[in-house]
Symmetry: D2
Subunit: 348 residues, 4 copies
Amino acid sequence: MFFASDNWAGAHPAIARSLVEAANGFASAYGTSDLDKRVEKTFSEIFERDVAVFFVGTGTAANSLALASFNRPGGQVFCHREAHVNVDECNAPEFFATGSKLVPIDGPAGKIAPDALAATIGRFPPDFVHGGQPMAVTITQATEAGTAYSLDEISALSDVTKQTGLPLHMDGARFANALVHLGATPAEMTWKRGVDILSFGGTKNGCWCAEALVLFDPGKARQMHYLRKRSAQLFSKSRFIAAQFDAYFRDDLWLDLARHSNAMAKRLAAGFTASGTARLAWPTGSNELFAIIRNDAIKALREKGATFYDWPAGPALKASMREDETLIRLVTSFATSEADVDGFLSAL
Amino acid sequence: MFFASDNWAGAHPAIARSLVEAANGFASAYGTSDLDKRVEKTFSEIFERDVAVFFVGTGTAANSLALASFNRPGGQVFCHREAHVNVDECNAPEFFATGSKLVPIDGPAGKIAPDALAATIGRFPPDFVHGGQPMAVTITQATEAGTAYSLDEISALSDVTKQTGLPLHMDGARFANALVHLGATPAEMTWKRGVDILSFGGTKNGCWCAEALVLFDPGKARQMHYLRKRSAQLFSKSRFIAAQFDAYFRDDLWLDLARHSNAMAKRLAAGFTASGTARLAWPTGSNELFAIIRNDAIKALREKGATFYDWPAGPALKASMREDETLIRLVTSFATSEADVDGFLSAL
Amino acid sequence: MFFASDNWAGAHPAIARSLVEAANGFASAYGTSDLDKRVEKTFSEIFERDVAVFFVGTGTAANSLALASFNRPGGQVFCHREAHVNVDECNAPEFFATGSKLVPIDGPAGKIAPDALAATIGRFPPDFVHGGQPMAVTITQATEAGTAYSLDEISALSDVTKQTGLPLHMDGARFANALVHLGATPAEMTWKRGVDILSFGGTKNGCWCAEALVLFDPGKARQMHYLRKRSAQLFSKSRFIAAQFDAYFRDDLWLDLARHSNAMAKRLAAGFTASGTARLAWPTGSNELFAIIRNDAIKALREKGATFYDWPAGPALKASMREDETLIRLVTSFATSEADVDGFLSAL
Amino acid sequence: MFFASDNWAGAHPAIARSLVEAANGFASAYGTSDLDKRVEKTFSEIFERDVAVFFVGTGTAANSLALASFNRPGGQVFCHREAHVNVDECNAPEFFATGSKLVPIDGPAGKIAPDALAATIGRFPPDFVHGGQPMAVTITQATEAGTAYSLDEISALSDVTKQTGLPLHMDGARFANALVHLGATPAEMTWKRGVDILSFGGTKNGCWCAEALVLFDPGKARQMHYLRKRSAQLFSKSRFIAAQFDAYFRDDLWLDLARHSNAMAKRLAAGFTASGTARLAWPTGSNELFAIIRNDAIKALREKGATFYDWPAGPALKASMREDETLIRLVTSFATSEADVDGFLSAL
């Protein structure tokens, strides 16, 4: 009953095996091997256009490099207050994009509203040098609240970024989970809706360590080579990432894994709703679930071996909670079984 | 006949298999799993003292974090002119240790001489604020010239660092190769000779992606946790590195692999010396070989499919070379076979 | 009727004359002249203890260097949401203290409340590496709202910083104005109440360009020399700042100038209150005045040549304002005359 | 007999007086006053084209901002080994242009030779990501050796920068001295010969504190506003710099002062040559003089109260010196009198 995080799972057997198969033989290093090139092409096929792909080691690296590629002196990056870049990356974004600042925006269910975004950007008028200058917008899909922006919601945000001349970054640590939830294509959920650059995560969805930065503007690729290398993210045996993605994409494994973990989250959600002792904070749009639950139930669950985290509730949510309730987060993964879920629910 | 680099090899089968075995089950993330903890303890056993260990993704990350942990405003880092940190890391050291500078020192066979080190440090007297201040010394073992510092040579350098109050970093991208060449223990080649912090490389010696920063001063560990995370080098499924090192150290696999690649380099060296058409630039102290060779021989070798790099020769070496000669570098690895070497030599 | 800012004034004649007097003769450069040394001693006398003093060119430089001297990876600096460092310095603090972050705290009248400070610091528990680590607290005295912290309020904040092991910085761009308002001594308003480092401003109070960083912990002085130089803030003819401070402190000129500008602000305040068309947002504790005023009155004042800025009102204040009202800021200076004030009030 | 540095002098009376005159009255801040605007126009007149001008506080700030405006990840800046940016700015250039590196080039008499520049740039081939990428070239005029590049020498260097697509920066800390030495116009010594950006120094030539960054490409101006502010170099009472430049340019004062200090250096040079106990290291092209002199003569001069610095001699120069000789530097200024020079020479 491990629901602490999807990164508590290991790797899917097909992905681990792919590393064994690629281990033999010699190949040129630093991302120039045939396997690297082939997997890069797969990205272009999946996204239905020529994209520039950069393998990196962590989601934090992908996010920070994406923002760094747009860096400006006095640069302001607009994000949700609960965004991973803002609260969980130990200032890596500010470090990679030296001297930049994250400007948090509040919004229910982990989402930025277009009018809040426009109003916040508007606080930095052109040529008021003291306040700095807008530099980029970043959203997370699926969000840190386990919800997913609809395609129209993404469009509404990119309308604002286009009007203000800002690039739009998507943190896709749980890209696949949002994708299968919406039933959209990768192209539809990104560049067709105005996303300029994407952190494409594989690690949380069954890889050991496979993250990629996807640039829909190939003109940014030249400098990204240098940005990545000087950030110590260019792997000599880059094949070890390519081999993971190779298995990840083969026969739509990645979509199957995401569908499975989403289904496990939905099964949990249904059980919560039916239980009477807990209720969902928001509808689930991925493999993350946030529930308001009685403290005695939490205690009982943990005594039976369930792992999950308490989560800080925002002011609005808090106001709707009783004294003896707590917000908790549960995350499912490719490795979560129905038995795990049912065991948890019967313990509840 | 692949002698371009040891990072053209894949991974040793035992190491790839270890990733398969670790793929099952759940474990806590970000370096806190039992496997992570167990492998960290192995490091302490190997180094015969309590060390703090930080897994990272690349040698560049290990080097840059090591230097960043000693950062000072106006900081000067002393290194060999041909050091990897100076010529092959795209300014990552300067980026991680913001505002620092690498001060290159010349020296034959890839080694810094103690008196040259002392003299160069002396150019930055205390409190001459304009010139900045000394911050750290870094040496590479085995060196970028394929040689290895003797234990006494390391002591002589650390005498200088102690006198000047500077920390001594060792870039051990090819640590194992130097170690078995000297027949020393890990403790003898590091902290017993005054090394304060070590970049311990596994990737070039048979791992997919396994590098570790080893701190002999545990007092630096607390800040290193933050330095690593904000550099995007904290892996969620950190086990995938731990699992590689687990296999690497089991039954001294790492030493066997290094012995093998060193032996292949020596076999090449003997063949070169016997050939008459080439001579060694320096004696080989690891798995790297630098040879001065006739241009027509280079052409012939490449036509037969051999891969290796031309290498820039320093002024002293150049003066000893004829017009129709070139300096080349050959690197062997765990995957190099005797047949590869003999094929190369017969082609020569 | 210039009330836009105290930096719209020029320099007090005594200060400009001091620059003429110092212009003759030779003196050693970079802060080592007799005049520099003598003025540094004056600082120690004024603060009743040995302090380390660093002249710099701007208040932004003083603030940013102060925070940079405490920099840590993933460092979080706690400040008021409206703090100058947060909204008016174009990310200079984040740039000087590379990779750090400002964490804004709300509070009425420009002040941070101790419990809000403690709660915000508490969001960064020790060793939760993802969130970064607390690094420093900065307060502004007088505040950006024109108010002044009482001595006890400063103590209450430094109680929190001591309990959490954090240094306390004071942005004293309008130090003298708060000082004479409280009737305190410089020592009482700083180190005796737990302040560790001070940005001491002279420019807004009658100097051309004279700012100083005052370190109550001399142990930080050595590295500050390098921090200042590498930030391009070490002036060769540093005497030109020393000469200004020399005149500034002579015969308590600085206190007289602050008393004058405060008195002008109080005269304005009294006029506002008596007018019926405007009311003060907060009581005035310096030479800044924030008033809620009818839009038609604003228009009339500007038509008569008055200069001042509209100011953004926070949510609480906004709720207390009518549709046809605006928050404005007025700043007086050493150069503001009673006639200016009375002219303005009669126009009102 | 003060020959230690031109920054040991104070300020020319006309410049100090200008500060007194500008002290009265109110004016808008942060470089927007009428005086600021008028002096900016004077720069355009002097340089015979529209230039963007940014006042800053120190030469180090001007140099570092210039290079930062061209920053690239892994960026390499090419400069002379003895360049002020390389040896006297405490890594400020590396700090402002985060993660960049200075690549020193040797050359006699403080000058970079075009072929050495081309060869050094050539060591960083396009797309060899490990080595980083060329970013800018910087030269100093007059040089740190007291010489001046001829106009044709500048052209020869800018031919290389144009061929390699790099911007050319000129550190003009002693711009006026080189200018009057060559008898050239400001336009001829800069943009007409391919210079893209200039650090224009006033401080060493009679100002208190007046430096300007001159951009011949106005397209860079927008970002420079932010770069300057986030570097804490935007002065609120910016008039205090404008007022100095106003007097500096009036009636060609700046050229007169430079002619005077150059003449004093030439008088010294002639005396040295005639003395028999000393010889010049290089011909003098500004107000700096480098002489090889017997150690006993140095001792005698210092006993008589002369101030000047010993200077490190490069290998080539050292080879031409006797054991009992030392290289010294003497610098004259607007405040150096003939009596000072003659006193020194008679002491010699």
